[in-house]
Amino acid sequence: MSGDEDFAEFVAARWASLFRLAYLLAASRSGAEDLLQTTLEKAYVNWSRIGRLEYPEAYVRRMLANTLVSSRRRGWFRERPVDELPEPVGDAAGDSGEMPVLDRHLFWPLVCALPARQRAVIVLRYYEDLSEAQIAEVLGCAPGTVKSQSSAAIGALRRALAASGIGEAMGES
């Protein structure tokens, strides 16, 4: 099988799974397509090496996060970060007074509003189940930076939830 055929087979088999991760990292479908396109182009360049790995998908998934952060560093387009996270939509506590279920409708807009690097840390930690050390390796930074980014992101999510009364409903001020 030629390198191109092998690459095409990999893309066909793993595209959907890679797209989902790209979507979480980029926080939009159009951004995900662009991120995935860029990452797979890079993977193609090194496919003779990546294709021989035992788990090429794991490598490409890490490339996705690294490409996202690198593109923000190079930045031919600039992020427009918001000062405050948006209010969660819906009434999480509901009328019953029971413990609210914080579903994706509540969390996702808040995650989208995080700066790209913090979002990448959150996605790698909670979706990819990577350790802090692994995330640091993927993003090319110190584990301490991952810790601080993660802490800042979780703090921002908590504050946004509390501001909407959800934290209070869960017994926290």
């Binding site: 159009s30 662009d34 890079k42 360049v45 560093r73 190079r74 427009r80 579903d103």
Partner: protein, 295 residues
Amino acid sequence: MNIDPQLRAALSEEAEMQDAPEPNVDRLISGGRARQRHRNMIRAWIVAAVAVVVAGGVYGLAQVDTGATSGPAPAVTPSSSPSSTVSSEGSVRVYKDEGAEVLPGRYRMVVGLDTHDVPIDAEFTLHEVWLSGNYPVLRDAGIYGGLAVYQPTALSAGTGCLNDNPNTHVAQTPTKLAQQLAGLPRSTVLQPPTPVTAFGHPAMHLQLRIMQRCGRGVYRVAETLRGGHGISYGDTLTPVVIDFWVEDVSTGRPRVDDIGGAPIVVETWHQAGASSQMVNEIAQAGDSIKIVTGG
């Protein structure tokens, strides 16, 4: 409140809700090949630059040897070669698309390849502090502008926004490429393609106004060997005025019969509302551009 498990579940659910679009494998492979060419080009350019530096060093040492009785030899670097790292205008630095700022000075970047895979370079001079990107960008009071020199591998298509696939059928002659540029999405032609001489070569000049607003996305003018070239910067999404000069760099250059691929495009742009000082700096940087062919 421990939000970890709920955050984990929410991300998984959000991801699973996404129906992935069909992959365009041909586009991925052609994009990958373009990157491969770019990488090879950079490597070839670095090898050539190192060779020049080594040659310059050897030449300098030779001067020291032959002039040992007349004290320390001045630093000597050949300046006649097109790939020299020093030009008659002083030190030329390699333009890097890393870091936040580009300091005033003369820079050189690889912008294309001729048919023999010999890099085509562009030199330019910046008089103020610019911002780094695939191409340098100037910011003044929240208004952005810039310059770019490239051999396009694809042009803006659809809405012009990044999420629309670009047109990879790039014309191979300056006249036809200028016509394609005149039809960029959401553009108004301020100056139709006109034959001129620019940067030492016959060229087609045109000027457009482009509505760059793309929601949360960005307007991409072209894909190039250096990566994407966009014009959506900052929060001021006012229209952008762009001047293009589409260069036939092969004419009068006997070593290069045909540059291969698309012609070279030189571009200066600024958002509406740019100060005259900013427009002047961009124009000066544009005027300083020298296309260097033949390695």
